[in-house]
Symmetry: D2
């Protein structure tokens, strides 16, 4: 950590900082410049609260952290890519994954139709929501356990592993009985008890980035899961909230490329939520693979204009099938397979 | 709802929309302009998914909602202000409330010192965290039930009602035994099960706005609580996340003034989180009262540079005491009392 | 335009709106719903100020525009792609363009080295700044006309057309003497007199999106140029400002895909400014082409760690040369050539 | 400046940084921590490009600036408040200024009516636009010199000094002949040639913050003016662009309080643009004064629902007159006069 003193701060002010560092068995190295003095903090264990503590000191202008606050998920700690195994599918290797399926599980007919269609087209996992977070209390919130059962049935029929969201600690045991990957939604990215609970299951976790979460906060949330002894975290960029309202969110592919350098965890992209418009999903899906994402997750529905949620951003079966060979081509162009 | 057709859309495309409306027992009124046709949708109950459904139709350019999706919290439904009673304190009337106390309850000595100090200075309620959401798994997360007991003890000693955060459904019963107001933190604003659980308690709920939540989403989250039969919701603006990083958040006082027109619920402001810097808290606290907020919630600590959380944004006792008469003066200037 | 009345607005309030519409020879079609009345406005020419005017009327809740405010650049007006001819290079057709070169022209040696290197690697145009907008008055602001002369010399030596920024109306005549494409920087996207001045030249204009400009505002700025009779506008997405600070900007590829549908003008992407980090430029350049951009513009410097501006985001010659075959492969994967 | 090396960077990498520092006659002080080495840079003059240069070095993780890049406007340089004299009005002292008037000068009748009304109500300066920046080329762009003449006439009649916008370098001489304060609009905050041109006039300059400008960039733009020998800069916060669209902009009063600490220049607030809705102007005007702003600038129109621009955010005469005594009361509550 670096402590920047104000121009004209006195020796007594500097001493007060050094004294506090001493209380924590830390050393302060003074760097005296033309205008101001800077204190480099060195020592075994810098308490997480020290930055805020010192900002209160008279004469301190600001404090700067120079280490990332996450450890286990950091590529500095572990330079090689983590591979997450989901049944017979490996996430994070040379092969990009394609996870497809409806936003919500609505009925057996709907789910089975889409499950077969996406498998036919080449998808490697099936997504579908049984528990749906909705901003309004007056909209469809999913079929619950009935939806989970249908997902399991679709897995049996197609062989595709199942990705589905778990919204509360209390549902983790239930969802774990049916799902292959536990999805943590964007709104729950900082629901720490839930993160720890899914961490304790040891199961693969798909962790969506929050709407207003920095890359650092996203990785810290992953750290919550991994700190429970569960390394099987798949990160998912799904768009952030910005001033631009012509699209539902702003898909942040910069974040994918940067996070690949900062962490060893695999990263996939959700262009359905990332754009909010079905006709923007194909170009951004291709862009995601070109950026180096380890896969994509896409909403597909047999009849999007009758979907109970997110119809506007779902591809129909034909459009999904038409996208797949283009994804294969782009993956190949960047040295990956699909 | 309004359906805007693309320029040059055909009669068959328009008919397809009208037909779908008919399936829902809705009528479509055509408004044919020079460039394009617009369909006004009229009927008893427009399904929440209709907007997305129709965006998928060929020839539809966009759909526009013209009613707010919240009902019970709307001032259109209930024009008069809701008053929330917390023991002998009324929130939402002519008197502005001042809720003060430490970010985290750290010890009996710390809490009792601050409780007495803020009561002495004129605060009307005591805040303090026993369960703390922290972005890093490696920082202090609160004393848990021990903290709740200390809060109850502080209430007994000072008479100040207690505001404290509840982070999960599973803790609601526990926190309810000690607290007078259940605080829902910004990260949990869209944790819908938690909202419903605190709704079911019937207790006063302080609902913080999420970092990236629109005013509409904030009111929808309040709707989740009120829809459980609990009208005792106090909204709290605490800053939103923007591109400006010189302050921790951007306090959005526009939102306070606008929300006061849209909802009948009381609204308070948290300038501590809203600015992230203790020296900005006084000017923004004064601004909040001038804007018409029904009160403020402020972090106060006996020794902020040794606080276990949020020290950088906490006032010490002397600075809090110095702020109070200024708040009284501004409240009086806008026709309120403190 | 749609005028949404408040719930419970009176007939007199509605009549006042209709009367004002009549003053402009417009008709109002009433759509009376269960909760509120909506007025569809129909007529030959809706004044641009009408929306704001009516928002002031008693009983009006809000007004919604249903037509885009731009005309000439709209794909509704002209469905086929505009091709912009720059000497022997066509922008907007099946072939993607690669514009490369240093942020600033610093010296003959630097510019010529890079010009030859990027041409060798396959770039189709040369970029370089002679007039540089800098947020601090104390940094290098370019060589001015001397830089323009060097650019012309580089064009003579390599055959590459020149793209360079013009910052003020007063410099347009000067820059026009040397440049093949006039670049309007992000900070000048809403410098309307400058837009009109470059419009009057009839020359190709590269219009960068402003840091906080919506897609609609960006297209309106293009409209300013085209309205002067100059259809030769190339749009350039270069990142927007968001809360994420780990990257310099957030490259908005959603905007590229959406704008391609809204306008017939060609669109290129600047991943150098869009990311601000040289090691993120290759993945985002590939993503841009995969999204459907008509080309990219990249900063290249012979020795980035000695660049007088933007060194941190510039590729060196070797890294640029290594990127080109990957761009060719991705372009091919999406049915384009480079 | 601080150079943070990556964990595991070699001595050779560190030496390369030190060598480059030596080329600039700078010293590097090493601070070797448990995980990584940090280099504090000390010396007489750190080149502005050094930060970017070093980010390109192998083994460098990041570079951190520890001094603000502005000098002349900094409160570290000049601790006492700057007072800007505009005829007989002082901006920046104990008395808050109220600048009021129409968005655009539309006619003699309109301007004179409002000028008299705002003077009567207690305003201290008159605002009005003769040159209007408009996002669409198809809207009213002001009366030009005719508008300036009307402003001068209104000044003669009321004694109120005139604030009006200048949009291009070429108009500076013209506007200077009529205006008392030259306003630089938000879109031009980084139009550096214009900043320097108004700097050279020596006249008072009102510098609006850009929609997406950080506080630091805003102060750097003020530095451009002051660096021309013109200390008469009045800063104006007018709202920033965020994800919230229920208000036109998000008024950032945090920025006012923070900038008052960082600079000695006076700061006023524009709640008309800051909110975009006339009914939000009074509460935010009061909040601005409570925060410590040195004044406000408000749009007032005799008949807002017939205004040629910004009618939706203009107060009528009665509402402005009703606001003034409230402003007086809040100013008094915070120890100021109006």
């Amino acid at each position: 950590m670096i402590v920047v003193m104000q121009a004209g701060s006195s020796e007594a002010m500097i001493d007060a900082v050094l004294e506090r560092l001493g209380e924590y068995q830390l050393q302060g190295h003074l760097v005296r410049g033309a205008e101001r003095t800077v204190i480099g903090v060195v020592g075994a264990a810098i308490p997480p609260t020290l930055k805020e503590e010192l900002e209160h000191f008279v004469g301190v202008k600001e404090t700067l952290r120079i280490t990332q606050p996450y450890k286990l998920v950091s590529r500095e700690l572990r330079p090689t890519d983590t591979l997450v195994q989901v049944r017979d599918v490996t996430v994070g290797g040379n092969r990009c994954v394609v996870i497809a399926g409806p936003c919500s599980v609505e009925s057996e007919a709907q789910l089975m139709a889409t499950a077969h269609a996406v498998r036919e087209a080449g998808a490697t996992m099936l997504r579908g929501g049984a528990f749906k977070p909705r901003s309004s209390p007056y909209t469809f919130r999913g079929l619950g356990e009935e939806g989970l059962k249908l997902l399991a049935q679709a897995r049996d029929a197609t062989g595709l592993p199942i990705v589905t969201e778990v919204m509360t600690m209390n549902d983790v045991a239930l969802v774990t009985r049916y799902a292959d990957v536990l999805q943590i939604g964007a709104r729950n990215m900082q629901n720490y008890q839930l993160l720890e609970e899914v961490g304790r299951t040891g199961m693969p976790v798909l962790l969506k980035r929050g709407l207003a979460a920095t890359i650092e906060e996203w990785l810290l949330s992953a750290e919550y899961v991994v700190a429970q002894g569960n390394p099987n975290v798949i990160l998912c960029e799904r768009g952030i909230r910005t001033f631009e309202t012509a699209t539902r969110n702003t898909l942040d592919l910069n974040a994918v490329a940067l996070a690949k350098r900062r962490t060893h965890l695999p990263i996939i992209v959700d262009p359905s939520h990332g754009t909010g418009k079905w006709y923007l999903v194909p170009p951004l899906a291709l862009a995601s693979i070109a950026t180096g994402a380890d896969g994509i997750i896409i909403e597909v529905h047999p009849d999007p204009d009758r979907a109970k949620s997110d119809g506007g951003q779902s591809l129909n079966h034909a459009n999904f099938a038409a996208l797949m060979p283009k994804l294969v081509a782009v993956a190949s162009a960047v040295g990956r397979v699909l």
